[in-house]
């Protein structure tokens, strides 16, 4: 049960986390905030960015700040599922008998960086995604539970597309957010260079632990959301479907729309965001801000959008504008 002290400490904790991460990661404030939202919400994040923008550093730093074990899995085409989940190995026990013993894979950690997940085969991707979804791994009919909190940050390399296995939509849908790490500005670049000249190691220190994170998760679930905002969110998600009458933008620019998970992601994430910003209620701004990370990997633009030079985020812009009339 939450108490007032915990709630009051929430915002303070978030600020400390952000400050600590800033020590290791320059810029990318929005990405950091959204990752924190996803972690607190219990979701996973798909991170897109060119090599060298600090994805691994960010996740490692996050692990330190949250005082949670971190592991990195570099996905390659030859990576096997057992390389991810672990496997049974034969070993001798004390009596000299042979027995099977499960050797946990790198996925058995709290914070996982699944690097270039699109390079692995679909089979290996599935093993990863099963763990993400169910927080357990089944090997030889034996299920092995993951530790909580469990957070996966998967990355996709947008440059190298040859020989890759892009995640199917059904799998993409399991990620709460898709975030884009952009190339830093020149000032940020300068800061990065200056910082890494001193040390390449992460200097962030722990602020909270896993239990506190779980408590924060419980607290945010109870943040009130008014009916009008719920309606607005549902209408926003519904407006991404071109097959529904009245969705002019979706009809014109989308091939398919977002699943109900998008609505869940929006509401859950908005609650966390509200509390992070010192509010005790969700606002329209929260929903609109999280519309991009929640929807961009769940909808697919068509050739009309491409020919009109619209990317996914711009189409989401249009959807938000179209949906303003549903604000009450």
């Amino acid at each position: 049960m939450e108490n007032e002290k915990q709630i009051a400490l929430f915002s303070e904790a978030i600020q400390k986390i952000e400050l600590e991460i800033k020590k290791d990661v320059v810029g990318q404030e929005e990405v950091v905030e959204n990752i924190l939202i996803a972690i607190i919400s219990g979701g996973n994040v798909l991170l897109e960015g060119i090599p060298g923008v600090g994805k691994t550093r960010l996740v490692r730093s996050l692990g330190k700040v949250l005082n949670l074990p971190f592991s990195r899995i570099q996905f390659t085409p030859d990576l096997m599922p057992s390389d991810v989940t672990g496997t049974n190995i034969i070993e001798k026990d004390e009596t000299g008998k042979m027995k099977l013993s499960f050797q946990k894979g790198p996925i058995f950690s709290n914070i996982i960086l699944a690097d270039e997940i699109n390079r692995a085969t679909p089979k290996t991707q599935s093993a990863m995604l099963e763990a993400m979804q169910e927080h357990k791994v089944t090997v030889a009919n034996v299920s092995h539970q993951m530790a909580e909190p469990f957070f996966v940050l998967a990355t996709e390399n947008p440059i190298e597309q040859d020989g890759t296995y892009p995640l199917p939509e059904a799998q993409l849908d399991r990620f709460m957010f898709k975030l884009i790490m952009t190339f830093p500005s020149t000032d940020e670049l300068k800061s990065i260079v200056n910082m890494t000249q001193i040390t390449l190691d992460e200097t962030a220190t722990a602020v909270i632990d896993g239990d506190t994170l779980l408590q924060m998760r419980e607290i945010t679930k109870k943040i009130p959301v008014i009916e009008d905002i719920l309606d607005y969110t549902m209408n926003l998600v519904a407006s991404t479907h071109p097959e529904i009458d009245g969705n002019a933008t979706a009809k014109k620019y989308l091939r398919f729309g977002a699943s109900p998970r998008a609505a869940q992601a929006l509401i859950t994430g908005a609650k966390v965001r509200a509390l992070m910003h010192g509010k005790y209620n969700v606002s329209y701004d929260d929903i609109n801000a999280l519309a991009y990370p929640s929807l961009r990997h769940r909808i697919r633009i068509n050739y009309d959008a491409i020919s009109d030079h619209l990317d996914t985020d711009k189409v989401i812009d249009l959807l938000i504008k179209e949906n303003q009339k549903n604000k009450k």
Partner: protein, 529 residues
């Protein structure tokens, strides 16, 4: 307001609702009153401005309360939405309203947070808003009032209502024919329209005009019957009476009639008063010793007494000669001249002239002459004659004034009574008027006579109480159609003539019948044949 306390914004919200209620309430009051103004005009009722001001204020107040109590009841959710929007509170207030009954820790914290933010928000951020409907209602009120003022009043033309109201009688068929001669003869009601004292069939224009004419002629006769007043005065008075006649014939209602008569009275009195100078001259003469007694008698208008006073004045000059006589005569003539000058009367006035002649004659007399006394006697005799003549004239004018005033009052009363009766019988219930039937034909024009055929209708004979123009429409029960009066009359006349020709009717009776029908053709320029 519901349960939520919006702190310092409560007052502003209440004020906004009061203002909205007042705007809508007053606008509604004005619109309703504008409709009443139009209704009053259509019903030819008096539109007193003070009455409508009171009605508007009362209605406006009533509507204001209704709007305040039932329409502009501020709802928490609506207020919360506005506060969130105006003060950029990010749905804090709306959440507070929606979760007002949630007692969980987070809900309480949310409420406290919202209340705190409300406290921190300056009151100016909350903008008073007035909806489009408020604006439309105000515009409608602004439009309705001038329209109501510009709508012309329905004038009651006594003559027109004879046939107009009769056409609105129970018989629906009465509406079909032409308007100007809407069938005034409704068989179902005995064709009673147009009868005396009958609102619908009230006294027609001609009768009223005739009454006015008679009264005017009578008064003119009174003017002509006076002997002393000069012709110019008489003509002036008769002109004024003609003006009165015109004004009365054009008057639309009782108020205008009364105003015309009152104005005429005033004018006639003024005309006559301008001719009466005995008071001014008499009072002026009284101020001088030699002429004080004469002045008193002149002011009283008593010509006989005035003559006696003049005799006394003359006698005072007897037995005087020479300078003494001269002084006495000078004293009298100077007094007269001074008095005449002081009176301010027009020198052309006859009384003025009479006294002036006396003074001049006395001035001319040589006191030392042997015939001085004779001349004095002659002068006074002349003066007596002229002055009494002038006084008689003025007295006659005063009497005429009283007579005319009385007759004007009588006329006013008569016309007022008739206008009042007109209003009582609007339903044209077929009261029988004078000479309604007038001719031995069925002659029953009461409402019970449902089969009153046209034979008894619209006879308008003799007495002239009902006068129909030849093109007035009349119901013909024989055919069930409406025909003109002229046509119907011709038809019956021809029938009568056929009967006379073909039947065994005594000559004198035939003559009577012909005379009767001839009397039905009235000479108003609309002879049927």
């Amino acid at each position: 307001m519901n349960n939520i306390d919006f702190g310092k914004f409560n007052k502003k919200i209440k004020i906004e609702n009061i203002i909205k209620s007042i705007i809508c309430g007053l606008s509604s009051g004005i619109i309703v009153d504008a409709l009443l103004v139009i209704l009053f005009k259509l019903l030819a009722l008096s539109n007193f401005i003070w009455l409508h001001i009171i009605i508007t204020l009362l209605l406006g107040t009533g509507f204001t309360f209704l709007f305040l109590k039932y329409v502009f009841i501020p709802k928490d959710k609506a207020i919360a939405k506005r506060l969130d929007k105006d003060a950029a509170l990010e749905e804090r207030v709306k959440t507070m309203v929606e979760f007002k009954n949630d007692e969980s820790l987070l809900a309480n914290l949310q409420r406290q947070d919202a209340q705190q933010k409300l406290e921190e928000t300056p009151i100016e951020k909350f903008k008073m808003r007035f909806s489009f409907s408020n604006f439309i209602l105000s515009i409608l009120a602004l439009i309705a009032l001038p329209i109501a003022i510009l709508v012309p009043s329905r004038k009651i033309n006594p003559a027109a209502t004879v046939t107009d109201s009769s056409s609105s009688e129970s018989n629906p068929e009465s509406e079909s024919p032409s308007e100007e001669s809407s069938p005034s003869e409704n068989p179902s009601d005995g064709g009673s329209e147009g009868q005396d004292g009958d609102g619908s069939g009230e006294q027609n224009d001609e009768e009223r005009d005739q009454q006015i004419q008679d009264a005017i002629d009578d008064m003119k006769q009174d003017v002509d019957n006076t002997q002393k007043p000069d012709e110019q005065t008489k003509e002036d008075l008769k002109d004024k009476l003609d003006d009165l006649k015109d004004n009365l014939q054009n008057a639309n209602d009782q108020e205008e009639t009364d105003q015309a008569i009152d104005q005429s009275k005033e004018d006639i009195d003024q005309t006559i008063d301008d001719q009466i100078t005995k008071d001014e001259i008499g009072e002026a003469l009284q101020k001088h010793d030699p002429t004080s007694q004469v002045g008193e008698d002149v002011a009283a208008g008593d010509s006989e007494q005035t003559k006696d006073s003049l005799d006394e004045m003359r006698d005072s000059l007897k037995d005087k000669t020479g300078d003494e006589l001269q002084d006495a005569m000078d004293s009298i003539s100077d007094s007269i001249n001074d008095a005449l000058e002081e009176s301010g009367v027009n020198p052309e006035d006859s009384l003025y002239q009479a006294f002036k002649n006396l003074a001049d004659n006395l001035d001319k007399i040589d006191p030392n002459s042997d015939s001085a006394q004779q001349e004095i006697d002659d002068a006074f005799e002349q003066a007596k004659e002229e002055i009494s003549d002038a006084l008689d004239k003025q007295q006659e004018l005063e009497d005429l004034k009283d007579t005319l005033d009385q007759k004007l009052d009588d006329l006013k009363e008569q016309l007022d009574n008739q206008d009042g009766q007109e209003g009582e019988d609007q339903d044209g219930d077929g009261q029988e008027g004078d000479g309604q039937e007038g001719d031995g034909q069925e002659g029953e024009d009461n409402q019970d006579d449902s089969d009153s055929s046209s034979s008894g209708e619209g006879s308008g004979s003799g007495s002239g109480d009902i006068q129909y123009a030849s093109d007035d429409l009349i119901y013909d029960p024989a055919t069930g159609n409406y025909v003109t009066y002229g046509e119907l009359l011709n038809y019956y006349y021809s029938q009568a003539l056929d009967g006379i020709e073909n039947g065994n009717i005594p000559d004198d009776l035939a003559t009577l019948i012909e005379q009767y029908f001839n009397s039905l053709y009235y000479d108003d320029g609309n002879e049927n044949n």
